[in-house]
Amino acid sequence: MKRRFFSPWHIIFLFFGVVIYRLAVLQLFPDPRVESQSRRQYWSHIPVSTNRGMIYDRDGNAMAVSVPASSFFVDPAFWDSASAHQLKGIIPDPLIQTLSKPIPGRFIWLARKADLEVADRIRALNIKGVFEIEEKKRLYPGGSLLSHVLGFCDIDDRGLSGTELMWDKELFSPPGIRVLAKDSSGQMLEISRINHDYAPSPNEGGSVFLTIDSRIQFVVERRLEEAIREHGARWGSVVCMDPQNGEVISMASWPTFDPNIREDLKKPANILNNCIGRTYEPGSTFKPLILGVGLERGMVGPNESFNCPYRIKVADGHITEAGNSGFGKLTATEIISKSSNTGMAQIGIRIKPFDMYHALREWGFGKPSGIELPGSEDGLLASPEQWRGVVPSNIAIGQGLAVTPLQLTTAIAAIANGGHLVRPHVVSKVMDASGNTVYVEEKEHLRDVLSPQVARWLNRAMVETVLSGTGQGAAVPGISIAAKTGTAQVAERGQYLKGRWVSSFAGFWPSSNPRYVLHVVIGEPSKGKYYGGDVAAPAFRRILEDMMQIELFAEDQTGRMVF
């Protein structure tokens, strides 16, 4: 008897078995080509900006934040060119013309990080083919306040200047990937999908804490602009520093800009930080430093007197007084307080060029200041081999070399704190995206440039300047101020220009235990007055008075009144 092994059911089962097997293989192990094609067809990966880290002032006020903003793009696959005219008046005309023609590709920006009003108008039109995604926009709540120190970013939130550039690595948060799926009608579905191809990025960048006091910054900027307009000046700068630890409390530059307004950024003069990026001849504000060098090296006695005529011949040139007549016999203190050029020139001749050059290098001139801001100039200090003829005397009166306002402020701070040169810094702490502190300020004592005795002597001489000398315009009742005026000519192509001056005033208070060093520079006043005592000293006084008012009524962070 023959057994029938084969059954029609076997064929059916075999068929289904094959189908199930293929189904399983297609579902569980799809062909990579099919997978990538479906991804391309149904998913769009759009890089979008995440929260850039914030920048705070010393009291924890946010000076730079990233806020949500809407961006719009067009998918040409769903776009009708005839709809372009609806966007007239909302987006630029060249873009409308582009959209009026057939567009290649699958993505074109319509409006990036649009203002609320523009976003609402585009949304209201509800045009097919226009899609919206959320990005982050960099905003500066203070407007132009502290703009040069903060800097600004590009459209993709990369820092381009100032603190934004210097600490971009910590502030920047890599763009996230937003996955957009499309249904059959072209509607976008926003789905945040964790994709193994892309590493997840943190929600925010790090944080930078500055040493700047935004209240003092405000009064400084306001008074600087006031002085600029009053005297018709071309540029100006003010630096306020704590002489004990080098913290920069305020740094203002004019002309200024608002980083929220992109058009402001087109003018290079506006975005130049004059405090660190502009060099100028310091003039008589340099005299205390030279006298300090002379006293340290024993070239000048503290009680020595000098005959100061109106004009003296030095090598191949002449040094003349700023006024119309000579001073006669002056003590070393009076040379400072009355700002005698001929007296100072005689002191300058006594110091060997080599010694003076190296002393000035030790003071920080002709080299980087070390501040954590990009675009800092080193200044110009010729090597001693080139100091021939009248050059040493010129340098003694603050001409023939170029410094930045910050360098001079740091040098005056050394006089204020007893002879210690400290590194100026504007950042107190930096934290990365994970909350770890990656940088903490340290009071960096660079070197001793003066002995305490010489520093105290210079202190008293500068107090005399305000009490009875050229700096009386800065006197404030009840406050002992030590300061020096400066009036320097502007040099161009090796020659001093007639009628162009830089007026400056540098000082500290209270002279017994200095808390603040303030340096005001007004570049090229054009309304008649140009002496430092007439132009910069009044601005110094107004800033000091405003700072006193802030201290009078302000509370520190523990709630105590600060006197």
Binding site: R3, S7, A62, V65, S66, V67, S192, N513
Partner: protein
Amino acid sequence: MRYGLEVPERSVSGSIRKICPYVVAITLCVFLLFTGLGVLRLYSFRLECRLNSVNRQIESYNNHRVLLKHELSTLLSPVRLFGFSKEELGMTYASNVRVLKVDGGYFANAAGQQEEVPLTKTGPEEEGWFYFFLERAMAGE
């Protein structure tokens, strides 16, 4: 009785009965597995939607927090405060301030002992001078 074509019914039905339950069971298992797979896929979609919803909520709260920080900074901006106090409130600088210089620190603590008051945040007092403003002057007398 047909010659050559007779198939022992008993053996066929027996063998079918032996094979079919296994096949049915395997088919059922495979079907259940695929059904389970489908259910898992659907459940993962549901979880993904929930995750997206939670992520959106987190993002929304983060954005709100940032907006509040921005608003706070704008409100505390010295530019705004100065403008508001001057233009809206008519405030001016205090002009009736009197300055009194007192030698040394004379603040007493609760036990009545003399307490050394530091003059400045940055360094120790050197000459014993500090300034403070009379309360009467601040009160506007």
